[in-house]
């Protein structure tokens, strides 16, 4: 009898935590998204789809969706291109490549808040590193984080700087899985480096690219910390991502209904992406061009 119960008892703690803090919250969010509540009223009246329709009628929502999508669409390809290029140089196990890999990988495991703070200094208008470099060339100061057109690019740069190492490591793992004879054959043929890269490396790591593409897009849609520290969504909403908007509605304006409605919409969007990921990856695991 005890023997039969054993696996359940072993799995129970994990399942309990998952139930309470992951699955039940999805239902709670769904429920709250149909209600009107501000944390203070004793009751939470049911308001149907009001929260959703009101959200869809605001400029802020569409702006946040646009900014987040723009962020994903710009930053993901940049990351992947840089990563595959750098990875193809670092794939061999030499001291030089190990060293550089370590340096590139370090930011991806360090504190995002620290990185955001450090880069707030880099892009500070006065006494910042970027403007100090510009002044070396006699160029005028730029107000990086106060400019609605530049701030998003700064966020993209910082996020790329942080995540690049992770992408590179994954690409290197992918490249190392490629039989080395293929490279050797290409080298013997006198193939030029770029030619080898384009004709052999890129197609061979296609599965890795698919994996990173979807993972990075999902991640991009959840960006919060860098924006919260550096710009808080500003200036003028130009870096206002969906999760930052969610935090603002939920924990600054305390519109729990509308915050939950936004959470549910973002949830559905990300689940769709995740399902696409498992479909695509399921099909493309074989080496094909």
């Amino acid at each position: 009898m005890l023997r039969k119960l054993t696996p359940y008892l072993l799995a129970l703690p994990l399942m309990a935590f998952i139930a309470v803090f992951t699955y039940i919250p999805i239902l709670t969010s769904l429920d709250l998204s149909f209600r009107e509540w501000d944390f203070m009223s004793p009751d939470r009246p049911f308001v149907g789809l009001d929260n959703y329709t009101q959200l869809l009628n605001t400029h802020e929502f569409w702006n946040a969706l646009r900014v987040t999508a723009l962020f994903a669409v710009i930053s993901v390809p940049i990351r992947l291109l840089l990563a595959i290029g750098i990875a193809s140089f670092l794939v061999r196990e030499t001291a030089a490549s190990r060293l550089l890999r370590g340096a590139l990988f370090l930011p991806s495991v360090t504190s995002t808040v620290s990185i955001a703070v450090v880069f707030s200094w880099v892009f500070a208008t006065d006494y910042g590193m970027a403007n100090a470099l510009l002044s070396l060339f006699g160029l005028p100061k730029i107000t990086w984080l106060q400019s609605p057109t530049l701030a998003l690019w700064v966020i993209i740069i910082v996020n790329t700087w942080k995540q690049l190492g992770y992408d590179i490591i994954i690409y290197i793992a992918g490249l190392q899985a490629v039989p080395t004879e293929l490279y050797d054959a290409a080298a013997v043929d006198g193939g030029r480096r770029f030619h080898v890269f384009r004709r052999i490396t890129v197609p061979l790591v296609m599965p890795t690219t698919y994996f990173l593409l979807v993972v990075s897009v999902i991640e991009a849609f959840q960006i919060f910390t860098i924006v919260d520290v550096m710009t808080q969504g500003g200036p003028a909403g130009s870096t206002n991502m969906l999760v930052n908007m969610l935090y603002r509605i939920g924990f600054t304006l305390f519109d729990i209904g509308q915050g939950s409605a936004l959470a549910v919409m973002l949830f559905v969007l990300l689940i769709v992406l995740a399902v696409i990921k498992s479909r695509v990856l399921g099909r493309k695991v074989h080496y094909e061009a």
């Binding site: 023997r3 039969k4 696996p7 072993l10 799995a11 703690p13 994990l14 399942m15 935590f17 998952i18 803090f21 992951t22 699955y23 039940i24 919250p25 999805i26 709670t28 969010s29 709250l32 061999r92 196990e93 030499t94 030089a96 060293l99 550089l100 340096a103 590139l104 990988f105 370090l106 930011p107 495991v109 360090t110 504190s111 995002t112 808040v113 990185i115 703070v117 450090v118 707030s120 200094w121 880099v122 590193m129 700087w161 994954i170 994996f211 993972v215 999902i218 849609f221 959840q222 910390t225 919260d228 520290v229 999760v243 969610l246 935090y247 939950s260 959470a263 549910v264 973002l266 949830f267």
Partner: protein, 269 residues
């Protein structure tokens, strides 16, 4: 394999330093006096650290971060290993469904539980407590999944032999599986620790009492509210930032290989 080329190694070192230069410079800056920094000189001081740790409470934040990340790692890895053992070694009704539910959490974005978890913990009076910081972070679907795969790679014959000697399942887990799965447990523990150390949005909403701030929240707040008057005291902020960065960097240098292995294995799943 080609012998290491010294010139290339030096170039790589330089490239690495250049890449990391913002962070390296921020550490350098944290040892300067503010006046020297703003006038372009250099004057060594530990005063920034003194103020960060004393006046601005970073010793407390460091303690909080270590405690919370430590406990989350310890409890998280225990819970995950137990469940992984169950999923890897027992065939039980509902087992596959449960395992599916664990794997599915990898797809579930964490923002959806932000408001509900806040309400749950408020309901039981656990906001503004260490427990409130720790509990929602315990379950780690990826660690459970990863460990389950790893344990399945351990020959069953070893368990059987132990059972023959009259061992209970818990004993088998503790005496046979855990020692053999040590590398995997270690790299997952590291992964959980780093994730928790860097976690920001949950501590941000769960804690209002400054005595319970983690380093991440304390640092963001120090930078944001700029306690002095006039321009930001960058050397002070960078001292706080260095305190936040350093434990992870130190850990990273020590165990880079484990970490990289864990992360790449995750990708090839």
């Amino acid at each position: 394999m080609k012998p290491d080329n010294r010139l290339l190694t030096i170039l790589a070192l330089l490239a690495g330093l250049l890449f990391l230069s913002p962070v390296l410079y921020s550490i350098w800056m944290s040892f300067q006096t503010a006046t020297a920094y703003y006038t372009g000189g250099f004057e060594f001081t530990l005063d920034n650290y003194g103020r960060a740790i004393g006046q601005y409470n970073f010793a407390r934040y460091l303690f909080n971060s270590l405690l919370v990340s430590g406990l989350v790692t310890l409890i998280g890895i225990t819970v995950a290993t137990m469940a992984a053992f169950a999923f890897a070694r027992f065939d039980f009704p509902g087992g596959n469904l449960m395992f599916g539910a664990v794997v599915a959490t990898l797809m579930i974005p964490s923002h959806i539980s932000l408001i509900p978890n806040y309400l749950t913990l408020a309901g039981v009076g656990l906001l503004d407590t260490y427990a409130g910081l720790i509990l929602p972070a315990i379950s780690n679907g990826f660690a459970a999944f990863f460990l389950r795969q790893y344990i399945r790679g351990i020959p069953r014959a070893l368990d059987e032999a132990a059972y023959m000697d009259g061992a209970t399942p818990l004993k088998v887990l503790w005496r046979v599986i855990v020692p053999l799965a040590r590398p995997a447990i270690l790299s997952m523990g590291l992964y959980i620790f780093i994730t928790e150390w860097n976690s920001y949005i949950w501590p941000l909403v769960a804690v209002g009492d400054q005595d319970l701030y983690t380093l991440q929240v304390g640092l963001a707040r120090l930078y944001r509210i700029n306690p002095g008057e006039g321009p930001i005291d960058w050397p002070l902020v960078m001292a706080a930032s260095t305190i936040t960065l350093l434990p992870v960097i130190a850990g990273f240098v020590l165990v880079e290989r484990h970490l990289v292995r864990g992360i790449t294995m995750g990708a090839v799943k």
